[in-house]
């Protein structure tokens, strides 16, 4: 074998060209050691494991199309008169940024397509990250050793939101300008430094001449640069940790079952990139996004109804819309609580889901590695928390679009606002309770299934006239899958008084932890899974039905 000899000792031209190139590279980069560990790396097959790939690929597509757009876009706020091909704006004053966006849309061949792919990909990128994060959350994939990668992913979501915001603000159209104005108002509400931050950001009073150029470098350089780094780190960790897998026969915490990277995942994952790009191109051919020409150029004294941000900023819009107008004046100062409180809740909503893994690991005290995913029903408290969080998020989205809801469902905008104000507090609690109960119900059903078999839907009449439904016994694969999860016991504080009669000091933190632990693993939070004894007793006795 040529690989056993050193490149120097081998006669020229003997090995195939590809091998010689690889040898050359290995001598300088050590690629063989890398490939040894990774070329046949195993990836489990499940559609939900590809959600992250949707995000990765749309991110790459956004970068590719974004670079193309920078070739034509002028990040300038100089006022110019429009004399391009779009008739209903002829002779209108507008910024160069807006004009160049019109030119991309109407005069550059394919420019409109690339713009639309870029924008659709951005919307889907953030949506994909959201769904991917929920998949990781509900299956418990964030547990040790993946907590840091969870945070990387979370940061990517937040940065993605702000990269999107700075991006759709660049064309300087009436809608995005209104969004910038909202941002300026929100900054002004910050006590003490708000006015200064606003003046520094906008180079003076709103709107000034600077923000498009400044947002441009933030949008194309600063934020995507950080994101690119995080994406790489995220992927390295995925490789390093190896992928999680769902419970099932042959799948343990010490292995990973699936297909090798070369060739199957090379083809599947590589092919999926083209599939994602293809779908996005088709979407951009079929549906228009952000038609800035019909929105018009930005003027701070003009506005359109239905002024909303892109969807991922919608929940912050909901927060600001439903907040009562509290304002406190004292000693010549104004505390704009009506704007500042939503501004504070905005990061808290996001942080709530980000810190959950650390709270869970503190409560459970679980220090082991987890590579087998939970079925959401088997972690009722976590699942309930996740659903409650999503409910809150959705309620705020409704609030953010209250005017569209009002016109399309013939409702009063005031009634919707009041509904959101109340639901903000009530709906997550209700969702938590309902979800937990559903999870417990599903656990009970699993237990029934294990002990009594699957209801086949076939009705049989017994000789003495009784009708029964035939239950089919489960296969051993199914039995294993349904009973493989572990059920921890709640944390015990131990007696308050030790055997010598001395009162033990129990810290408040410990008490809280025990209480939470009971909420996670107490009798009301999980149905004891069937034991071997129960199973044998039922199956060995009479014929089951």
């Amino acid at each position: 074998m040529s690989t056993t000899t050193t490149p120097e000792s081998r006669a020229r031209g003997k090995a195939p060209a590809g091998e010689r190139v690889a040898d050359w590279a290995d001598g300088r980069l050590g690629i063989y050691s890398l490939a040894k560990a990774n070329m046949r790396k195993i990836f489990p097959d499940h559609w939900s494991f590809m959600l992250g790939e949707i995000c990765l690929y749309s991110f790459i597509i956004i970068i590719l199309t974004g670079v193309y757009l920078t070739l034509f876009f002028h990040p300038s706020m100089n006022e110019v008169e429009y004399h391009g091909s779009y008739v209903p704006l002829q002779g209108q004053l507008m910024s160069e940024a807006y004009k160049s966006t019109l030119d991309i849309s109407f005069d550059v061949r394919g420019g409109l397509l690339i713009r639309q792919i870029h924008h659709w990909a951005a919307l889907i990128f953030v949506a994909g990250m959201f769904v991917h994060m929920m998949r990781v959350f509900f299956t418990g994939a964030f547990r040790k050793p993946r907590e840091i990668n969870w945070l990387f992913g979370f940061l990517l979501l937040v940065l993605g939101m702000f990269t999107g915001f700075t991006g759709y603000s660049l064309p300087d159209d009436l809608l995005s300008g209104t969004g910038i104005r909202f941002m300026e108002g929100a900054i002004l509400s910050v006590p003490i430094v708000g006015t200064y931050i606003s003046f520094f950001l906008f180079g003076g009073e709103f709107p000034g001449d600077d923000f498009v150029a400044r947002f441009f470098s933030i949008h194309v350089l600063l934020l995507p640069g950080i994101m690119l780094g995080l994406v790489v780190a995220h992927l390295i960790l995925v490789f390093y940790h190896k992928h999680t897998q769902f419970p099932g026969p042959g799948k343990t915490n010490k292995n990973v079952v699936g297909m090798p990277l070369l060739p199957v995942y090379m083809a599947k994952a590589g092919g999926f990139f083209f599939l994602v790009f293809g779908v996005l191109a088709a979407v951009a051919a079929i549906a228009t996004v952000n038609p800035i020409w019909s929105i018009g150029p930005y003027r701070p004294d003009m506005v359109s109804t239905g002024a909303q941000p892109d969807w991922y900023m919608g929940f912050s819009e909901g927060l600001i819309r439903v907040m009562p107008g509290w304002e406190i004046n004292f000693w010549g100062h104004t505390l704009v609580l009506g704007v500042f409180i939503p501004l504070l809740i905005f990061p808290l909503v996001l942080a709530a889901i980000a810190v959950y893994p650390f709270i869970e690991s503190w409560v459970t005290g679980d220090k082991r590695e987890h590579h087998i995913l939970d079925r959401p029903r088997n972690a009722p408290t976590r699942t309930a928390f996740g659903v409650a969080w999503m409910t809150l998020y959705f309620v705020l989205l409704v609030g953010g679009g209250n005017d569209i809801w009002a016109t399309h469902f013939h409702l009063s905008i005031n009634a919707i606002t009041w509904f959101v104000r109340i639901a903000f507090f009530v709906a997550p609690v209700v969702a938590f309770i309902v979800t937990k109960r559903i999870c417990l119900g599903l656990q009970r059903r699993d237990k029934e299934k294990v002990l009594h078999g699957r209801e086949s839907g076939i009705i049989k009449r017994l000789p003495h006239g009784e009708f029964i439904e035939v239950h089919e016994p489960l296969s051993q694969e199914q039995l294993y899958t349904l009973t493989a999860h572990e059920q921890p016991k709640p944390l015990e504080l131990g007696p308050e008084v030790d055997e010598n009669g001395v009162r033990r000091k129990v810290k408040a933190g410990e008490k809280l932890r025990a209480k939470l632990s009971k909420g996670f693993y107490g009798e009301e939070s999980q149905i004891p899974k069937p034991t071997v004894e129960e199973y044998k007793e039922i199956t060995s006795g009479h014929g089951h039905h």
Binding site: F182, F274, V322
Partner: protein, 352 residues
């Protein structure tokens, strides 16, 4: 009751190749891991004709992709950029955008579909298992690293030579200030800029639509008009920044219907001039309902009662819209009797 311990690791049992028959439950533990299910062949694995069909399908997909790319280039060259076409059910759309998007989409999708079909039907579908190893280092590795670190730390003498340590921390802590200082010229200091607008005594109210000064008789009860201060033109540099504060909304209400006394005094024969900029976060508020006299903000639904001093009656705004005092000059034109007596637009810390 189940245990809270880690369940015993049920490593995959030896493969049973007897054609997928479910293994009988173990006498001891019916819930035991039966191990990876045996591999079942696909049609393509046992039937060469099926495999050939798959091969042809993959090749066809790649060929379609090539044709689509040719179509993309042809569309780019032949379809004019402004050509419109009606496509059911989408409507009147740009022919070029549709053609380019569909051909590009098809070209890319077929590459992906071909690759995935190839992987799914022709590449081996044997499931393999990789072992995992703990992420944590073994104790001896950990001990070695700790020793090395201690040795390095000792050799650096950082702990012993406090003077070096403290001055180094000082230097490292201070130098980022240069970066902060450099940001100072991003913008001017606020000063009192947010307190003043272009309005001043004697400035005429100019109709935004016609660019003509307004007379009281121009405005009828129930009408809505927007005005700017005389002298501010759209082509002026700084127009955007000035209009962002000076934009004015004029409504006329029967004087009897005006509830707020000060508001009535500052009006002229029922003509009220309010700032158009919402006091919440600065959207131009102008959804005026002439029967209820309510003005609604389209951004966050703050609602102001224009017949009652523009008081906030719903929504997140914290204070009423500022009103501009207006009168009529000698020639019968509406004029401002001064600037707004409070800052317009969103509230800020120094507003007071």
């Amino acid at each position: 009751m189940s245990s809270q311990d880690i369940p015993e690791e049920n490593l995959p049992a030896a493969q049973d190749t007897s054609h997928g028959a479910v293994k009988l439950a173990d006498e001891q533990n019916p819930f035991a891991d039966p191990g990876l299910p045996p591999h079942e062949p696909r049609v393509q694995d046992i039937d060469e004709r099926a495999a050939k069909r798959s091969e042809r399908t993959v090749a066809l997909l790649f060929t379609v992709s090539m044709l689509a790319t040719v179509g993309f280039i042809a569309s780019y060259v032949t379809i004019p950029v402004d050509k419109s076409v009606f496509i059911w059910p989408i409507g009147h759309i740009s022919a070029l955008n549709f053609a380019l998007g569909m051909t590009l989409g098809l070209a890319l999708f077929c590459i992906g579909a071909g690759a995935v079909h190839w992987a799914r039907t022709l590449m081996s579908d044997h499931e393999l298992a990789d072992e995992r190893h703990p992420i944590e280092a073994a104790p001896d590795v950990r001990a070695k690293v700790m020793d090395d670190f201690r040795q390095g730390a000792k050799e650096s003498a950082l702990g012993r030579r406090k003077l070096i340590r403290n001055t180094m921390f000082g230097a490292l802590a201070l130098f980022p200030l240069s970066g902060v200082v450099l940001l100072r010229d991003l913008g001017p200091l606020p000063g009192t800029k947010l307190r003043h607008t272009l309005w001043s005594k004697g400035k005429l109210l100019v109709n935004m639509n016609t660019n003509e000064p307004l007379r009281p008789s121009d405005l009828i009860v129930g009408s809505l008009t927007f005005a700017k201060p005389e002298g501010l033109e759209e082509h002026d540099h700084g127009f955007q920044t000035e209009i962002a504060k000076a934009a004015l909304m004029l409504v006329r209400i029967q004087p009897d219907d005006i509830k707020d006394k000060r508001s009535l005094e500052w009006s002229h024969e029922g003509i009220l001039a309010y700032s158009k900029i919402c006091t919440h976060v600065g959207c131009p508020i102008s959804l005026y309902e002439q029967q209820t006299h309510h003005a609604l903000c389209p951004c966050h639904q703050s609602t102001f009662d224009l017949s009652d001093g523009a008081k906030v009656i719903f929504g997140p705004a914290g204070h009423p819209l500022p009103q501009l005092r207006i009168g009529v000059n000698d020639e019968g034109y509406l004029e401002a009797l001064g600037d707004f007596d409070e800052p317009v637009g969103p509230a800020f810390w120094e507003r007071g």
